[in-house]
Each structure stands twice: as C-alpha cells, then as structure tokens.
Symmetry: D2
C-alpha cells in the first residue's frame, strides 16, 4: 500500500437506478468498491462485464464489497437514455445500484465522470479500496481469477489495518 | 412435404433496417427464409438467437437461404424504439435486413405480426420454405445442429422439385 | 449426387466397444453414417468432436443416422490401449459403437484405416451416405450448423431416391 | 489466521512428472500452494480443474504461488497408469509438477494421500498457506472468482506477517 495514492474522484451522475438516493463514494468508505463502467449497447459489457459484476455481488459479503454500475454513454446517446436503461437493467436482472454518468455541459460526447477518470471506453473496471482510493482502472475484460485476487487483496488490507492500528491512529492508510 | 401446408402470412412492418425497401415474403420465393423474431432487450436473443442468425447468414449460400430479423416488441415499448434498435444493430453487427413489427392500432401490447403468427415470446424462430410456406415456428432456442438440419432439408426439397418436375407442372408442392 | 462417387473403403479394426459384434459399413446401408475419428488423449476430440457425436446420436432418428467412433491411434500407443479406452468411454458416457483402428503390421505408426483413408490427424469427421459412399472426410472441427446441414442433406437424398425409384431399379445411386 | 490450524500432512507419492526430484510440501514453505487433485479420465478435471490450475500457474508470481497436480487414482487403475498419465500431461500441456498418489499397500482402491486427506473424489482443490497449513480442501468445482480471492487472501497473510514481525520472532504463524 502506498499512502500517496489519491482518493477516487467523485462521480458526476444525473440519475441512479436500484438506489433510494444518489450514492456518493464517501458513503462507501470501509468497503471495497467494484465499479463496472458500461454502456447498455456495448456487447462486451452485456456478455462479460455485467455478468461478472453480478458474480462479484453474489460472491462477497456486502460488508466487505459494494458493487456499482456506472452508465457512461459516449455514443448512441439517443438510444441509451434512462428509459431504455431502466428496461435493460430489469431484463438483465441487474440488482446493484447503477448511476448514469452526467453528460458534459459543453456538448462533448464524453460524459463528465468519463472525462474525469480518463476512461478509454467500455467496459472499464474500477476498484476502490476501503479508504476510498482508486486502485484499478482497466479498460477491457479482467479475468475472474485476477479480479477475485484484486478484490481479496483490498479486503485483506483493511483487515490488516484494523488489526494493527489503535483507535487513535485513525485510519492508517487513508491519507491522500 | 404436405401440399396442404399454408403460405406464411405476410409480415406487417413499419420500418426496415439494412434494406433499401420493405421486404415482402413473396419477394423471397425460391429461397428458404430464416426469420429470427427478437427484442433488442431480450437477453436470450442477444446471447443466442441473433448470433445464430449471423452464423446461418454466413454458412449458407445467399441463393439458397435468406435471413431476416423481425423486431416484435411486446414490452418496454418506449425503450426499444427505432433509434435504439438502429444503434443496437450497429453495435451487434447485424448485417441482414431487420423489420419492425407494426404496433397494434387498438393499443394492444402485442404487435400485429406477432398476433397474426401467434408468437409466444422472443426469441422465436421461423422457417419458410422455397414455396413460401411456414414450416417452423418455435419459441425458445433451437440448437445449431437441429436448425442446420431443418434448413438443409428445406433447401433439398426445392432441389428435388427442380430435378423431378417439368416446366409445365408448375411448382409441384406450392399449392396452399 | 454423383453416381461416380466411390464407396467408403472398409474399416480395419481389431476391437469394438458398445457393440455385440464387429460393425461393417455395409451393414449400415440405408442409413447415413457419422464417424468421429478420435484419440482418447486428443484434447480437441474430448472437448468438441465426441460431445458433438453424442449430440448427433441424440438428435437424429436411429433409422436415419448411425453414429460410430473410430479410435485411430497414431501417437502415444502405449497410453491409449484398449483398457484405457474402455475406461475413457465409460467416463465420457459414449454410448455408440467405437472401433479400434488396427495397427499397421509393418510397424508404421499410422493404423491401417487411417492410412487407407488418408486421415490427417484427429479429430476427423466422416460422413457416409445411405448408399455407402464417402461424402465428407474433414480434419478439424466442423460447426454444428454445418454438420447438421450435411447430415440432413444426406438423409434427404435417400428419401428422394425412395420416392422416385421403382423396386427393380435397385438402389439408384449406389453405383461406384 | 488461526495458529491452531494444522500443517498439511505430507503427500505419499510414487512418481513425479515435470519435476527433477520428488516434491515435498515443506520445500514450498513461504509460498501459497494450489494442489489440483485429479484423475486423467475424470471429465470434470479435464474440462475445468486442470485448465483452471494452468490459469493460476500463469496469473500469479512463482515466488508467491506454487501449483501442483496430484493424480489420485481410485478407479480404472489399469487405464490410468504412469505411461498413460505422461502422454496425457503432454497432450494437455500441463507444465507444473504432478505427483502420483501412492496406491494403498493393502489393496484398498483409494490411494494413500487420498485416504490421509479424506478426498471425496476428483476434482478436489487444496490450498496450503505460506506456513504449510491446509486452508482449503474442496471436492468439486471452485469458481475462478472465489479461487482467486482465496489465493490472494493467503498471499496477503504472508505479507502481513512479514511486515509485522521482527526476525527473532521466527515465522509468526507457523506454529501448528
């Protein structure tokens, strides 16, 4: 672990599905966060990364791992609006929260969170550690074996921290 | 072959993609026609029946087999409109003609061709023989081995007819 | 169909599994015959061609299609003997007859049927028509869609023959 | 981690492939060890657990994770002898060391290591931690996501130990 790692920047979203209120990354501190960045018309997202996110959601304890989707539309904007996305999530049985990346105000095709994080396309996989720091930002498919290992490593870091720090130390590795 | 088989009823469509003009079944007489009836948000269609239609399109001679898609939307109407469908076809590399089943005028959720043929849902697979008669109308997945056999059987019927009938006999088995 | 096609040469075998007596191709006249040529230690045979042969065995009427395996060992001879093969067939639930290609008497690594037919390796797929003629001899994987079409074409040829020939004509297309 | 966990009992083997000398578990202390227990004629082993072991072998650093196969034959003994196994390993491109579980001297069908560990069948997956303790002994398929997480957890324990113990403490968690 590197104390110089930076916090994952906040998401800019305009809507959330499967959530009662907008989700902020800081609300998830203490848990590892998997974020699957997708477009509903991206075949690789439908075939691989969203089913993988569902497997992660099912395999790990909710207290350890939160799973989010982020719908970052950079093409076919009219075809992938909220009405279409809602039906898509229903048909594909996506039960975890999904935020819609906010369109750029200046008319740029790339939405705001995509610009901020520098996503190269979809699918993109993000991992954020218990301290809120961005630890993985990968374009393309991540094999299950490797993703499982990454997640468990981040889960383990927190346990290490919890076991070896006294209360007054504060969260040991969160310093950005 | 059964001379009492009926002609496949005409399709009621409102738009066609990947076609310069609306396609009528009678224009395809002489060829076997595979029709994949789908909805763009139906996971089984995306994962199985549309890739299968692409394989059929690639495997058989165009002079023997025509492949069509029919977008029969009976749920999530607002999410599966023409703008969304066009992007979907592009992203999923569907190169064969796709017609949009015409919505019922009386507000019924089921579109007109779906009602006429009695489709039970999507995916549905239709096979129409060289003489224009409906020979298969199956809801759910048809294995490649079985579909390949059905198609070849229908291809062969026409060759048999061609080889064994004189001109004046007219098409031997087309009588509805 | 081409009357000049030659009969499939006889198999040279030393043992049969899942059969009460040695099977001769001439005993199968009137049926289409699929032969999967394999080695039990060939990964592509285990993963693809033998499961495909099982699917063919299940999908078509026994009166139309016979399925055979032919174990043509050209490497690792000591590792793929009859005792090993019998256990392999049991564990992989191969229920159709499997013949063991007879080793060459002159010490050649290639067994006799393999030499006679010119198999390039395993898996190889053979199709023999109802009249006993060799119609397909392909090294490597044949997609289900294509294999289903080939089989149905050969099934249909026989029906054509049956429908269009009188008894005294004899088998119409068997002439080698 | 629980200091009361017991050391993985030694393997009883009669032969090793892909190794210059017999491998003893104590030689692997300091590394996490994945052991895939298999039979060469077990279809689930060929289709799933051995390819998974190859993926683990490729995905993790050799300094962190050792991968072993253990051929525990409890049926079809004559069909799965060393000559057959050697050819099998070659054809399936298994590059990691594989030990052959020693047959029971009293004629029991179950080999000695299988009896000692209580394997219920094949495939079985073992994970041994850096301190040599048995942490996983599972019959049947383990999904990649879960196996990757288990392995990374065990890798991380050792790093935790290394980071938090002074030299004179000795190996911190090895006490059985």
């Amino acid at each position: 672990m590197d104390a110089h790692l930076t916090l994952a920047p906040p998401f800019e979203t305009e809507t959330w599905f499967n959530a009662e209120a907008p989700i902020r990354l800081e609300d998830l501190r203490g848990r590892v966060v998997l974020v699957t960045v997708f477009q509903m018309l991206c075949p690789g997202c439908v075939a691989e990364s969203l089913p993988q996110a569902r497997r992660v959601h099912a395999a790990f304890a909710k207290a350890d791992v939160a799973v989010l989707g982020l719908h970052s539309v950079f093409e076919h904007h009219a075809a992938q609006g909220p009405v279409s996305l809602e039906a898509f999530l229903h048909e594909n049985r996506i039960g975890f929260p999904v935020g819609v990346d906010r369109p750029a105000e200046d008319g740029d095709a790339l939405p705001m969170t995509m610009q901020r994080y520098g996503f190269k396309g979809t699918p993109t996989t993000l991992l954020i550690d218990r301290a809120g720091r961005l630890r993985l930002n990968t374009f393309g498919h991540v094999p299950d074996l490797v993703l499982g290992a990454h997640i468990a490593t981040l889960i383990g870091e927190g346990k290490w921290a919890a076991a070896n720090q006294s209360e007054e130390d504060g969260p040991p590795v969160c310093a950005a």
